[in-house]
Every structure is written in C-alpha cells, then in structure tokens.
Symmetry: C2
Subunit: 405 residues, 2 copies
C-alpha cells in the first residue's frame, strides 16, 4: 500500500464534470489499495476573475486582502471535490491550508511555508477518509490567510507529500508531461520519460509552466518522487527524480523561454565593494525575486553598469527602487526594457561537455539574434534577447541540439 499525493490543476477541475472525472481517478487509486491525499487548484478562470474584480477597484490592491480574496478559489474546489468523492461512496473531507496546518511567513501573495502540522491529515487517513486539501494557501502567525504565489498548489502538494513521507506525488495537468520545449512553439517537441530535479528546476524557473519552481526545490530537498501527467488520459507522464547514471548521456534535455521578464539597468554605478549587496538588499526587502544579475565593465573604470531581470509583475516596483538607489549612489540613471525574453538550454550533461554554450551563442548569432545578457549554471545557459526573436530562438535551438530525436 502506497501513500500518494495527487494534485489537480485548474483545467483538471474546470467544471463539475471535470471534478467528477477527478473524483473517479482518485477513488480508483484508493481502490487499488493506496492511501490518497488530494490537493486542488481553483477552477480554471476563477483566480483570474477574482484578480479582475480587484483590479476593477484599484491597480494596487493590498496584498493581505488579495490573499483573502484569492484563497477562496481553492476552497470552493476542495469542497466540490470532496462532495464528488463522497458521491462515489468513499469517505472524504475537505481541508483549508489552515486546517492542514500549513504555517507560512507573512510575505502576502508569495508566502514561504515554514512548517506543516499534518495531524488532522493523518487522522483523516487513519479513519479511511480521502482528504482534499485546498492548495496555494496557508496561514501566518497572526492567523491571517497567506498564499504561496501563482502555481503554489504544486508547492502545497509536494510539501504535504514531504510532511507525510509519501511514496509519490502526482501532478495532474492538461499536458502529458515535461517536453523538450513548448510543443505549441516547436511541434517536434518530445515528451521526456524522466528528468532530474535540477533540470526540472531550471525548466520551471525558465518559463516551462508545467511545474511551479518552488515545488521542485521542495521535492529535491525532501527527495519526493514527482510525476507530471495528464488528468485527461492515462499516458504515463514524466518522472522527476534524483539524477541518475542514464541521464548523464544526454547533454541538452530541453529548451525553455520566459517572456514574462523585464530587464533593468542601473548605469554608471561607482565600482566599490558592497555596492551590489546594497542594491539587491533594497529589492529583496520588497519581496521581489531578482532572476539574472549581470555586472558589466563600463568604459569609465571607476564605474560599472549593473543589469538584472525581474518578472514583469514586479518590474514597476523594482524600477522605482532602482531609481532611488541610483539617486543615492549618484549613478548615471536607470533604464528598463520590458520587451525581452529569456531563452535557455537545460541539461545535466552540459557541465561535462565543452562547447555547449558556445554552440548556443553561435546559433543565435547566425540567426541575427542579439544577446543582451548571459547567465550560466552547471546545468543551463540562459540568454536574454529581444522578445520578438523568442519563438525563433527556441525552434532553432531545439533543432540544433537534436531534441526531437
């Protein structure tokens, strides 16, 4: 008997018909002798509707209130799913983030999980019930509702799987698994049977939307085996696990593009130690996640240009902070470019193969794509380019690295 956490995304629970299909899949897994914990997202479109309501009132709604507002969507799905499971004759019970004991910090709209008191979940499982947890949410020390950021239900699922020491965490979505790149852009894109946590982490943070990045970090940290698969059919999906020998053969396993980026440059910053720390402390204390950071040598040897990327949603706020920093440091000014995309190649084999990055740069150059920023890690190379070249870049990189094979 295995303990499985199944997470169903928004399109998988888009209406009551879909919710009943999910209930059947859940009950089937339970009837095979498994203990099942279900985590659900808001019904597709629900969260967007609630955000639209808030934006009809103001473009800068208070974040505590946004969490109260948005956490409703998952509660609705959890109750309906429990009802659908009961209808099939199994015992079930819905739980909010609070009732499951998901305790987070107080960074409203992007809270981090501090710990999970899974007592009520364990009791429910012991009583033969199938718990259905509202994803995406927790409470902070003041007992206020917090949310984990968009896609946070993946994190809820993995965190619960870790807390319960589950055998498997299944992430059900509307695609059949993780692909070498976005199949909507490159029709030759191929589904991967297996991918390592690190590669998945890069894929996720680089714009492949199948899995929320933080959930993969969590899975890696607690070694929770993940499967990404479709709730619309019974295809086996992609297994996300620890790196193994097989994987080393593959050099590049995927290409990803993230169009939700903005690049900010502070020009002519005095080139003295501690300056960068100062800048990024200011930004971090506003709970903005900075992605790439590149410091260029300026023509002026006493000054430097610092560029960084943030998500489009945070870009206005980050730009304001950068302007303040620029004024304070007597820098030469700040500029921002929102028409950028970050295109990346990912693969665990990359670190032991020379020339992979060079091949990427060369390929882009041949197509006349100008590279604005470069960032590399052991298993990925990312380039920030003009957004208008993004799709082409993905296609040619997918082709050059022979990912369709």
């Amino acid at each position: 008997m295995a303990l499985i956490v199944q997470k169903y995304g928004g399109t998988s629970v888009a209406n009551t018909e879909r919710i009943q299909a999910v209930a059947e899949r859940v009950v089937a897994a339970a009837k095979q002798g498994n203990q099942v914990v279900v985590v659900v997202s808001a019904m597709a479109g629900e969260t967007d509707k609630l955000i639209r309501f808030a934006h009809e009132i103001t473009d800068q709604p208070d974040e505590r209130e946004m969490d109260m507002l948005l956490s409703s969507g998952e509660r609705i799905t959890s109750a309906l799913t429990a009802i659908a499971i009961q209808k099939l004759g199994s015992k079930s019970m819905s739980f909010t983030g609070r009732q499951v004991g998901i305790i987070t910090d107080s960074s409203h709209t992007k809270a981090m999980i501090e710990h999970i008191e899974a007592g009520r979940l364990r009791t429910a499982l012991k009583e033969g019930k199938i718990p259905v947890v509202a994803g995406f949410q927790g409470i902070n020390e003041f007992s206020d509702v917090t949310t984990l950021g968009r896609g946070g239900s993946d994190t809820t699922a993995v965190a619960i799987a870790a807390a319960l020491n589950a055998d498997l965490c299944e992430i059900y979505t509307d695609v059949e698994g993780v692909y070498t790149t976005d199949p909507r852009i490159v029709k030759e894109a191929r589904k991967l049977d297996k991918i390592s946590y690190d590669e998945m982490l890069e894929m996720a943070s680089l714009g492949a939307k199948v899995l929320h990045g933080r959930s993969v970090e969590f899975a890696k940290k607690y070694n929770v085996p993940l499967v990404v698969r479709s709730s619309f059919n019974y295809a086996p999906g992609t297994l996300v696990v620890k790196e193994d020998k097989d994987m080393e053969k593959i050099v590049v396993s995927g290409v990803a593009a993230d169009k939700n980026q903005a690049r900010i440059t502070i020009m002519g910053v005095p080139d003295t130690p501690g300056i960068a720390a100062g800048i990024f402390n200011d930004i971090a204390s506003s709970n903005i996640v900075v992605d790439m950071i590149v410091q260029n040598i300026s023509s002026d040897t006493k000054a430097t240009d610092i560029s960084f990327t943030v998500s489009k949603a945070d870009s206005k706020k980050a730009f304001e902070i950068a302007k303040n920093v620029s004024d304070r440091l007597y820098a030469k000014g700040v500029n921002m470019n929102s028409d950028v995309a970050k295109v990346s190649i990912i693969g665990v084999g990359m670190v032991s193969h020379f020339g992979v990055a060079a091949k990427m740069f060369e390929t882009l150059a041949k197509e006349g794509v100008n590279i604005m920023m470069i960032s590399t890690s052991e298993i990925k190379v990312s380039c920030v380019i003009d957004v208008k070249h993004s799709d082409t870049a993905v296609k040619i990189l997918h082709d050059v690295f022979e990912l369709a094979k």
Copy 2:
C-alpha cells in the same frame, strides 16, 4: 461618536461598482465621526452558483462540505470591500468569521452562534481601521467552517453589534424598509417608519424576506436598535425597536405570505401522552425546524392526526422521518402537500382587540379560500392555504385591515 454596524446584502454588493458605492457610504459614515464595522454578504448570485455546482454533482451534498463551499462567497466580498475602502484613503481590513471569533455549534448549514470573541475587531477599531467582516459564517469547536443558514449575514451583523455594544445596526438591502406587505404583490403596500422586534420577528418568520428571523431574535435579546434601509438611496428606512406606546394603537401592522412551506400529516396516531414529543424529537434531532404544529381530533377517538409544516428544503427528509415514526407507532400513514402557503397577519395591538382572527377567517371564507391549518400567537394569526390563493389572500387582507392608509 457612535459605533455603527452596517450590513450590506447581496444586491448591495452585486459587482465591483456596487462595492465601491458601499465603500463610499461606509467612509462617509466614518468621516462623520462614527466607528464603523461592516458586514457583507456574498455578491448576488454567487451563493446560488455555488449551490448549483454542488447539485450538479449530487442532490444530497454533505453539509460540512456545503459550509466550506458557501462560506467562500462572503470572504470574496469582504476582501473586495476592504480594498475599495482603502482605495478611498481609509484604513480597512477584512475578517473571516473565524478571525472575528464567531464560535458556533456544529449544526452545519444552520449553525447557532455560541459566542463571539471580538478581540481582533476591537483592536482594529482602536487602530482606526474599518473592519469588514465576512457574514454568514463561523467555526465550531473542531475549527471547521460553519454557516448560519441563508440570510445568516443579518445574524452576523446583529451578533457583532451586540458583542461590541454598538449604538445601531443598519441592515442595507435593495428595498427601502419594512412594508405592510410585499409591494410586488400589493401595490398599495406602505413602508413602516417603526416596527417592534416581536412584529418584525413574525414578519420575518412568516416570509417577509427583508430580515433574517434569527437576527431579529438576537436584536431583541440584546436590545440592539436595527434599521432596515436601502443602499441604493438615502431614504430613512424602518426602525426596528422595543415596543412602545405609539405602537399599541395599530391593530394589524402587516400581512406576510410564505410559499416555501410543505405540510406533512401523520394520520391515525394513537392518542396517548408523549406521542407528539416522540415525533418532534426525532425531527429536531435531524436539525429540521418545524414551524406550525396542529393536532386534529380524528373520528376515531383513540387516534389523532398530527400535521406540521416545514420548509420545502427540509420536506423530503422530514417526510422520511415521519414515515418511520408512523411505522413505529402503527399509525395509518403519512401524506405531504407542498403546494401550500402560510398567510399571516401581524400586529402588537392584536392581542387586546377582539375579532381580528375572526375577521381574517371570514375574509378568506368569502373569497372561497379553504383554510387547512391555523396557528395563532399574541401578535399574529397564520393560516395555511392552497398556494394558488396566496397572492389573492394577501391582497384582500391588506385591504380589509386598511394597511394602505
């Protein structure tokens, strides 16, 4: 400086435009030097939508899950209203039933408030914030969400007004106050300036939908002055207060009809002491509220017929229980009639005036309306009649008792 609790119903917060209009009214009251606590219902149509979802899955959804489901609607409105108040430059904060400390029993879908720990509300008021409370909900001892039944937001508002010892509780709705009868049925219906708690209680329980009955009980018990008024204009509304001298002059102050009733009769019940108690204990333990009870003398002197009315929603369940009781007592069987309405006249002056009931019966008889059951109290006379005669009965009674004057 007065402390005012303002409750806004579903049509008053039907969309973000209406929510912003409500925020303006709230802020205006605060700027006049009052402390204001806001209680909100779900946006009009939201609760019905959620119920429809549940009924798409099953016609008998679990009540704990229904509470989880339905409590979402008010949370959404509370967050949006707090955002709208903040937009106008005032400090505001939303609260769930749990965060306000509304502790109820565990009768899911119709929970009773046991007490209110209003600590966080008091703190918020002290900090100059306008708290916006999600109506209709609380939590039980297990920390599960409960709801107070439809229209329960009125009860939330009055209970909070009582807990905070508020000076006034304003119930904002889409009508201008309490009328002598339903203006949609009788166009001569007249708005009352003032009505006593007892009369309002009868009006509410008898089908006048302006105020939830339990909220009036609560208001009477804790002597909370209520005002029922429109959120769509600045008309003064109807004051609901303790009975005073003025009121005694009026004999009949209103006519109400309730079409949401079903009559169940258990025939040929052995006429021995304790039988009625047995029947209604069984029904009460299913959390069904029985309204009228009439015991008729049967032709058989050793047996009797017992009729009672329940709401249509509870009628199936009540019918099943009645059948079991009937079998157990060797009674002659059970029948149910859902095509009934309860028409009532209400007035504090009634008790000291002879012939009011007789006049009602006579009026109905003249119109050929058959009376199936009669029930009287100090301040009302109710008759159960065929639902097809309901509107006519209301019109002629409104006319005969000269309520349009």
